[in-house]
């Protein structure tokens, strides 16, 4: 359906099926290769889902721990990265629920302020403001639409794959992606006025 250029960074990471087979047998070097291939993508996804970088790092770690424990049961007819992002999505949703109930987010803004780079360069400042605007706009997209949007447009999974990963029908997935896109565009249009 979509002709939008999807990105598959992991496919260029030369992670072959032998590496996964070795990791299934408990080879920690093979597992390390998996972590190296997917860690950055997982962090990107988790940050977009959770907003707080520290929470995101925790969930990425939790995801890889679960993955390693479950590897002996992994069936290779299933696409590996679909399985990985399925676990990551589960972790992020669970974390969001737990954080909404129990955690105070009052320190988040202070931490973010500390991480702001030097903005003497006007171009850098413009880029930073745009980056923050995108993050704010994305955070306003409901979690159930945001996850599908990220899986499809950012992580490059087809609707067929996302359907297998989430159990949500493709017609509903497309509607969620459209709603997320509309909301993102609308919010960013306001920001750029």
């Amino acid at each position: 359906m979509s002709s939008f250029p999807l990105q598959h960074p992991a496919q260029s990471a030369s992670l072959d099926s032998r590496t996964i087979s070795r990791a299934k047998l408990g080879d920690i070097d093979a597992f390390t290769a998996i972590v190296e291939a997917y860690h950055a993508r997982c962090v990107r996804f988790a940050r977009a889902m959770l907003r707080n970088p520290d929470d995101a790092e925790d969930m990425v770690q939790e995801t890889f721990v679960r993955l390693y424990r479950a590897l002996p049961r992994y069936e290779e007819r299933q696409r590996f990265e679909s399985w990985l992002f399925q676990i990551l999505g589960n972790c992020c949703r669970t974390a969001n629920t737990a954080f909404q109930r129990h955690a105070s987010r009052t320190t988040q803004d202070d931490e973010a302020v500390e991480r702001v780079p030097s903005l003497d360069d006007p171009t850098a400042q413009f880029d930073h403001e745009w980056s923050e605007a995108v993050k704010r706009a994305l955070a306003e997209v409901p979690e159930y639409n945001r996850e599908i949007f990220l899986l499809h447009y950012i992580e490059g999974f087809s609707y067929e794959e996302v359907e297998r990963m989430t159990g949500v029908k493709q017609s509903a997935l497309k509607m969620r992606v459209k709603r997320a896109s509309d909301q993102l565009r609308s919010r960013l249009t306001e920001e750029t006025r």
Partner: protein
């Protein structure tokens, strides 16, 4: 051309969101160390397991633990862990202590953490081999091979399992992953599929 391709604002937003964070070697090392530690852990959820997780993770685990404990108490109060004995397969807790309060933590003391013998039973006349695989034996079919009874139909094995909630299944002929038809089922977040649930010990 999709709507996203036509819209310059959305296209720019996607470009921004697609930027990968720089490689964090320290974080990757922590991930590998935590996974390796988790894989050699004797039993899932056993307290005292040291992993290189950062301090903030404690909050996550507390929240997840509270949710799991709540679910467990509700599950136990409904008596859902009681094994059915009239069906094709059943699980039987061999050692229990009826004097404990129903609201005590599952693993509270060293005695509580001691493994409890647990028998798994499965009916199959056609199988050549059957094993129990679960989080308690790292899903290794070689760890708990079942023994066929003299009538050729009933398979059983008794193994020590740490008290608590465990996910398991039967591996038939080293190839067929089968749930226990008489046990409660729950979605295994690792596999994204259902697993059979057994609760060993008393809450």
């Amino acid at each position: 051309m999709t709507e996203a391709e036509r819209d310059p604002i959305l296209r720019r937003a996607l470009d921004e969101l697609r930027k990968l964070p720089p490689p964090d070697i320290g974080a990757m090392r922590r991930v590998v160390a935590a996974a390796a530690a988790a894989r050699v852990t004797p039993f899932d959820g056993e307290p005292g397991v040291v992993s290189p997780r950062r301090g903030r993770s404690i909050r996550v685990w507390m929240a997840v633990g509270m949710a799991a404990a709540s679910a467990f108490v509700g599950f136990a109060l409904r008596g859902a862990w009681t094994a059915t004995t009239s069906s094709a397969a059943r699980t039987v807790v061999m050692v229990t202590d009826s004097t404990r309060s129903p609201l005590r933590p599952v693993v509270a003391t060293e005695t509580d953490a001691a493994p409890i013998s647990h028998q798994f039973v499965f009916n199959s006349r056609s199988a050549h081999t059957i094993s129990v695989v679960g989080d308690f034996n790292r899903w290794n079919p070689a760890k708990a091979a079942m023994v066929r009874s003299s009538d050729g139909e009933l398979w059983s094995v008794t193994i020590p399992i740490a008290p608590g909630r465990h996910t398991y299944a039967f591996m038939i002929d080293d190839s067929l992953f089968t749930l226990d038809p008489t046990a409660p089922k729950a979605r295994d977040p690792d596999l994204g599929a259902d697993g059979s649930i057994v609760i060993v010990g008393r809450p």
